[in-house]
Symmetry: C2
Subunit: 330 residues, 2 copies
């Protein structure tokens, strides 16, 4: 590609900042502008030269941006922004409410088809790289079982749930995969497991002064959906400790497929994909950026509508040509 891909960022939280960093690592790309609902002058970007604009001015950039990366949340931002901006730009987002993906796909697809744009939805590592591994390994080993483990990492939803408990000032929750269960699967066992069998939930809680800690602990541990079905550990710590030791955002996980071949299914095979990430948002941002490259190329070839990781040939993710890829990486 002779001309650099011009990337727009919508929303400048942890993911938006990660995309800015990721674009700077890719010489075939450049940051066109960051768009925000906040006052642009209140945003401090990583690079001092980055242009920050109010979201109301985004239409003026219709011909100055090749792809817009939507960095908002799945609860309220993306259901509105996804279809809206797919009507104006090639887009990439990390919509991750698994149960609502079919509905979200349809609404973005319709908008993108109408505008002649291309939109990659639900990009990241889960949904994303983990989904790819679930699909590929199930297709290759149809007789078998797949397992997904998450962690060790912070769950935003569970941390929010803790912070809503009466008497809790602040808190964070780590999802931790149960190593002994992973070992059993790696050794060829194929147990039936609930999410609760596979994960421990460890909570670090800052209580308000005078709050009843025993009551807080019981409330957390018995919270339906979030904690009741899990082995849950609650630690009380000071706010200083929370800030000092729990401000990073590591995450990761595993997809494991255990399957058999042979006339009597007598030969076992184990395939595993794992991630160990020091920054969940920065890694997710890198996946978004690679798919931004793919979306621009696919649109130039006339492919429009919504796409997922299942639809995009992976060669489109790399800045290298098909010839180079076959020579160097195949």
């Amino acid at each position: 590609m002779s001309e650099r891909i011009r990337v727009g960022i919508l929303g400048y939280g942890n993911i938006g900042k990660g995309v800015e960093l990721s674009v700077s690592q890719n010489p075939d790309m450049e940051l066109a502008a960051v768009f925000t609902r906040r006052k642009p002058e209140s945003i401090k970007t990583v690079s001092e030269s980055a242009r920050v604009l109010h979201i109301d001015d985004i239409c003026e950039y219709k011909d100055l941006i090749d792809v817009l990366i939507l960095c908002g949340g799945s609860a309220t931002d993306l259901p509105e922004q996804g279809p809206k901006y797919a009507g104006l730009f090639n887009c990439v987002d990390s919509f991750d409410t698994h149960a609502r993906i079919p509905e979200y796909f349809n609404s973005v697809n319709e908008a993108a088809k109408r505008s002649g744009k291309t939109a990659a939805i639900s990009i990241g590592w889960d949904p994303g790289l983990f989904s790819m591994n679930r699909l590929i390994l199930e297709a290759i080993l149809p007789h078998g079982e797949s397992y997904t483990f998450w962690g060790k990492g912070v769950s935003q939803g569970h941390s929010d749930a803790i912070r809503r408990v009466k008497g809790v000032k602040n808190g964070i929750q780590y999802t931790i995969p149960v190593e002994s269960v992973i070992e059993r699967i790696r050794n060829g066992e194929r147990p039936s497991l609930t999410t609760g069998d596979k994960h421990i939930r460890e909570c670090f809680v800052v209580a308000e002064e005078g709050a009843d800690k025993a009551e807080i602990e019981a409330t957390i541990k018995n919270m339906p959906n979030y904690f009741a079905d899990y082995k849950t550990i609650v630690h009380f710590i000071s706010e200083d400790e929370l800030i000092k030791n729990h401000s990073r955002m590591p995450h990761g996980g595993f997809v494991i497929r255990s399957g058999d071949t042979g006339k009597h299914f007598e030969k076992k095979h184990i395939a595993e994909f794992s991630l160990k990430l020091e920054s969940n948002p920065e890694f997710t941002a890198c996946v978004l950026t690679a798919y931004a490259r793919a979306v621009v190329r696919l649109n130039r070839e006339g492919k429009t509508g919504a796409l997922t990781v299942f639809d995009i040939p992976i060669g489109y993710l790399s800045p290298k040509s098909a010839e180079e890829l076959r020579k160097e990486l195949l």
Copy 2:
């Protein structure tokens, strides 16, 4: 898909047998026929009902086969068969001579373009699934290093090299990844490594009666390209022991990407894809079969020519519809 995909197998060695087994695990497929250069009546297939024909009769099956899986070797079979049969059938093969892939791709591509057929080349796990991981992870984490380890598993080329040594009656070679090196990489180190630093070569040798074992060992250990650059271990065993303990074909390996994000590359990320296979040929055959499904679908959509794992959207590998995949696996 309402009608089953009719699969032809060309060549009935370990891979061909594996494809027969794999097709029987996929309800949307059926085995049309096995083609062989040997006398058809000399072939004993897994299923007694399988049709075995001489390769000279293959043209009569032009309209009775949706995809032909080429199960021959990369040294002499595929360079001839790949372009030849891509002129008649949709094809899948496991061409694995990395250095000659560009040339092989071009010859198959030309033939398939001319015939309006689709051919997936170099399908398997390396090249194949490992190549996919190398590409995806490099595209996502451009600032980093990738490592590929093979084993523990039998290397056919190295086993052949042992058997050519004077005084050797029989022998087998296992490639073994160095665990301590893998651990260093998993912990975030990024060493510069040769293939020899990453692997041990363990040989089990049956000597001819009266042969000079010390000389055999020295000849093996000093063999250029094959063993001289590696830590090589040689064991002498009896032929009975070789047959009893070394007739299985396990293999496996790892692709690891270690990369950084952040303004000062201060956040480390480790991604790893690994395989532990009890039967290398049967697993490879399963990958071929899944790509056979993809090739048939792509050809029906009008996509012709040669393709690799980099060009084929992974959704095509699964018998499930795009809607089902988004709902169940994304």
